[in-house]
């Protein structure tokens, strides 16, 4: 795949293969992906921040109702003032099983690096399972690095509240799941792109409820 980007946006509507991207001086990449258990089961995404002031923002959506997928996301900081943010959402229904591994690696040369990885999962069926493995490898001290992971389920109180308002159970579930998945979409600055992502998300969630 391509390795030269400049303030670039990459959208993978259904991720089918592995990818390694180098990000050079002053470059900024926005990478959006949707996993697709029909197209592939194992993905390796590697982002190497080789340039000064380079940055990457990753929005990942892992919405499935069957199959087993494993997604490995690695962000490697090699140079000064690099930033890497990852926001990954899993919404799993049916008997979908998913593993998300997120590695933030800050090498010795990456002074003033800022790395963040977050993975939130929502399990909407009894048989869905998730394995979340966020990791940090930090080799120098003048950095900021953190990660977070949460796993939750459809809250019965919220569903009950919506049902009281006359919303069908199915629709209530869809509402809760979509609002969960939308959380970080607002961080995408391009309005048209935002619209498009919301469209895809609505379709995908419709399918799994």
């Amino acid at each position: 795949m391509n390795s030269q980007t400049n303030n670039k946006i990459i959208l993978r509507e259904s991720l089918s293969s592995s990818e390694e991207i180098n990000i050079g001086d002053n470059e900024e990449l926005v990478y959006i992906f949707f996993t697709d258990s029909e197209k592939g089961s194992e993905y390796f995404l590697e982002f190497v921040l080789t340039g000064i002031n380079s940055s990457v923002k990753i929005f990942g959506f892992n919405i499935d109702s069957k199959g087993i997928t494993s997604t490995n996301i690695k962000v490697i900081h090699q140079n000064k003032n690099t930033t890497g943010y990852s926001w990954i959402k899993s919404v799993l229904g049916g008997d979908a099983k998913s593993s998300i591994k997120g590695m933030v690696k800050i090498e010795k040369t990456a002074i003033n690096a800022n790395g963040y990885f977050t993975h939130n999962s929502l399990l909407i069926s009894n048989l869905s399972q998730v394995v979340s493995t966020p990791s940090l490898e930090i080799e120098t001290n003048d950095v900021k690095a953190s990660h977070a992971s949460t796993t939750g389920h459809l809250d019965n109180d919220i569903l009950f509240y919506l049902k009281c308002r006359g919303i069908e159970e199915q629709e209530a579930k869809r509402l809760v799941a979509t609002s969960f998945a939308f959380e970080y979409v607002a961080k995408i600055s391009d309005d048209n792109l935002q619209e498009r992502i919301i469209g895809i998300l609505n379709d995908r969630i419709e399918k799994i409820i």
Binding site: L123, S125, V131, E137, N141, V143, H147
Partner: protein
Amino acid sequence: MRHAQEVKKDFQGSFKAPEKFVFKMRKGLNEEVIREISFHKKEPEWMLEFRLKAFESFKSKPLTPWGANLNNINFDEICYYIQTSERSESNWQNVPEEIKNTFDRLGIPEAEKKYLGGVGAQYESEVVYHSLQKHLEEKGVIFTDMDTALQKHPELFKLYFGTVVPPHDNKFSALNSSVWSGGSFVYVPKGVRVELPLQAYFRINAESMGQFERTLIIADEGSFVHYVEGCTAPPNSADLLHNAVVEVIVKPGARVLYTTIQNWSKSVYNLVTKRSFVYRNGVMEWVDGNLGSQVTMKYPSIYLLEPGARGEILSLAFAGKGQHQDAGGKIIHAAPHTSSRIISKSTTQDGGRSSYRGWIEVVPEAYGVKSHVTCDALILDEKSRSDTYPTMDIKNSESSIEHEATVSRVSEDQIFYLRSRGIPESEALSLIVNGFFEPIIKELPMEYAVELNRLIGQEMEGSVG
């Protein structure tokens, strides 16, 4: 008045007594050595079989491909058994002079009078001293060394020994099971609360020594016990191996608090398997302080086996020059409505490396599980390294699991603020580090908290962030 320098040396346990022993096994490990250890201890036949079986398992297992580098351990150069005293004493006066002096310098028996419900002291392979307050003994509390327990309470011993950590669990639990010696045996009967902590103290003195103690704690229904262990060794040219297995059984409604302050010298490989089984409404808490050693690999684990069980792990690691602290925790939610919490705090300096390795698992049947994990790391200079490797394996959809981790440094603003209040830079740094560890330190018994604060202060001496 002793010179301050000497007091400091004592405090860190870095002085060394001459080697003296009643019996010392030749170096190296084979079936013959294991048979001799077992014979020497006059053990029943089943224990010898247990040891030999574990040895087979040890030979067949490879070293772990992950974690710290253990390739430098030469298993043939280690002495697996040294007996320093004929028997375990219950009167401090009868403990052999050299050993007594060592523990006196470390301040062990003084504390006993005031703060502790019972004390055990292990020197090399054997426990040399054990005592328990009279009123606890009358209530049926057992606090003795493992070898005595095997002789005196064979039924209880056989019922639980090796059930929580089976010998074939990993390479080092197999090694421990084949050559184990010493350690504490604690049994707290139904409904008995041991208000003052029981303390065990472990000391390695000889060169190229391996200490393989095993601790077994059984807290019967509704009981409570706080067990504290401390460990030291003098600096040695040759590598030392400390390879323990700790098994804790928390029966319904019971609570066990297990505190470790490990301050081994920087030549020690500290490879420990700690695990507990917790039954209905029981509570298990591990407080794990890792300051010393060359390499530590230790992940206290909790199996929550029945509804209402709760587990908590507080892990503290401090890695300095040449040290690798690979610590963390593991919690298996095997029943519905179980909850857990892990707090891990680590600092690295002077080229040290610390890793948090955690595992949270929720089995498909365990609904209503709650778990929260926090790990924070401070890196004090650019030479040092910090890693975080947590895994959350969630097989039940009705559970809520949270994990967060941060890695940062001490900011110049914080240092500047303290300096402007007239605090020297090095002291400011140790204040900040102490503050960083505070959530864990406040869980410790008072005298341990004071000791830990002082230890951190000493480690931080001369280091400027």
